[in-house]
Amino acid sequence: MYRLSRLKYVFPIGLFVSLFLDGALSHVWAPLFFSYPYSMASELVLLWLVLSYFFENGIEIPLIPWSIAAGVVTDLYTSGILGLCMVLFPCIVGLTQLLSKYFSSSFLSMIMIFFIDIVVFETLNYWAYSLINITTTPFGDYLIYVLAPTLALNLVYFVALYWPLRSLFNWATTEKNA
């Protein structure tokens, strides 16, 4: 039961901490993240959402409502342009749920699903922003200078945080009294 487990506190706190860490790390490591011509977008929120779907151990976290909430906060606070992340975050959660039906739940298939998630997220983000004229970067440049470094960064996050987060979720999903 989601209501009775520690996840009730751990999941939302982790969600918003990762959201704020995205911004804080982009600020602190800006010389690394935004060194010309590359730019990496840190997507710890997506990592948290995807991994909590994989690690929820049968406890059903209301991922879609939480991802909409995180998306609204991201839109209002970090970018100031409403309407993008609030739709894309739940879409990515849905995509993860859809893809995980077809693959076993091993580390390799999880990292592959996360890879696809990031590609879809960044590409839809780029497409929407180029439609409303916030960016005019050509598609080829986007692939080489934005998507590739972003993937590299977020896969490093995935590998580095996979085991710590798994033990965190193991701890949080066990019953309090057990």
Binding site: F34, G80, I81
Partner: protein, 284 residues
């Protein structure tokens, strides 16, 4: 096989898409038109900003302590260089004080209250940077309650870095000069040429060479490399005399009719911790 795009699902997807793009376009145009975002948005942003400082401040603190250990390594050689500069600076400072005093007296004589060079400053810490490749934007921890208004110029490291684009009660967003958005870097600037002052605006940013571009400069103007560039104070909101950078090279525009001046900005856009927002005193 079940059809993926059944009628109902297709309608829902289209509706979501329309709402989505409506919201995005709406919020962009709203941001350009209004001085402050709607109250609900401000309120939300203030609460989130408060929660953000719980994460951002420890991270910032960690970074500062790491970089201070790094700085310790180069202290000796830096100290020697700085000592030399300090002796020069003392002289400049005294002269500056005398001139400021004289300036004040002269203004009193002319019964001028304040001119374009007078400005007050508000210091703020950077909370976060937008984690996106498409927006070069910072969130700082001061807002309306500290007197910050939309479009005020923001400085760091003694140089201009951008302008305030959104103001909430306790935090605000700053768009950097390196942003590719059309209005992000239109600042009125002036350069002292050898045959008079050259006025113009910043028209673009060259990311590959980290240079600001001042376009459409009359080809008669003679500008030397290394000349200091400051804001000209024209347009009202930005005070006169904020340091922008130095002229790095001068080129012709595409048709060869006018000059293009390339300016190396004084501040590093990727290394900003404390910013100063300048508030023109002649506004009030």
């Amino acid at each position: 096989m079940r059809k993926f795009f059944s009628n109902r699902r297709l309608v829902i997807i289209v509706v979501i898409l329309v709402v989505c793009f409506g919201l995005m376009a709406g919020s962009v145009s709203l941001r350009n038109r209004r001085n402050t975002p709607p109250l609900v948005q401000q309120f939300g942003n203030d609460i989130v900003g408060f929660a953000d400082s719980a994460v951002a401040l420890p991270v910032n603190w960690l970074q500062t302590s790491f970089s201070s250990v790094n700085d310790l390594m180069s202290t000796y050689s830096e100290n020697r260089e700085l000592k030399q500069q300090v002796t020069e600076l003392a002289q400049t400072k005294v002269r500056d004080q005398t001139l400021a005093h004289e300036n004040k007296q002269l203004k009193q004589e002319l019964k001028l209250k304040s001119s374009m060079t007078d400005y007050d400053t508000v210091s703020a810490a950077v909370l976060m940077r937008t984690p996106s490749a498409w927006q070069q934007q910072l969130v700082i921890n001061k807002g309306q309650s500290s007197g910050i208004k939309k479009n005020m110029p923001v400085m760091s490291d003694g140089g201009l870095i951008g302008r305030v684009t959104e103001v909430n009660k306790t935090n605000s967003k700053v768009e950097l000069l390196s942003d590719t958005g059309e209005s992000s870097n239109r600042f009125a600037i002036s350069i002292n040429g050898s045959n008079g002052v050259v006025n113009g605006i910043i028209t673009g940013y060259n990311a590959s060479r980290n240079e600001l571009i001042m376009g459409q400069v009359s080809s008669k103007a003679k500008i030397k490399k290394g000349t200091r560039v400051t804001t000209s104070g024209m347009g009202g909101i930005t005070p006169k005399g904020l340091y922008v950078g130095k002229v790095s090279r001068i080129g012709k525009d595409d048709y060869g009719l006018a000059q293009k001046v390339y300016i190396k900005p004084a501040a590093d856009f990727n290394d900003i911790n404390i910013v100063t927002v300048a508030e023109s005193a002649s506004q009030e």
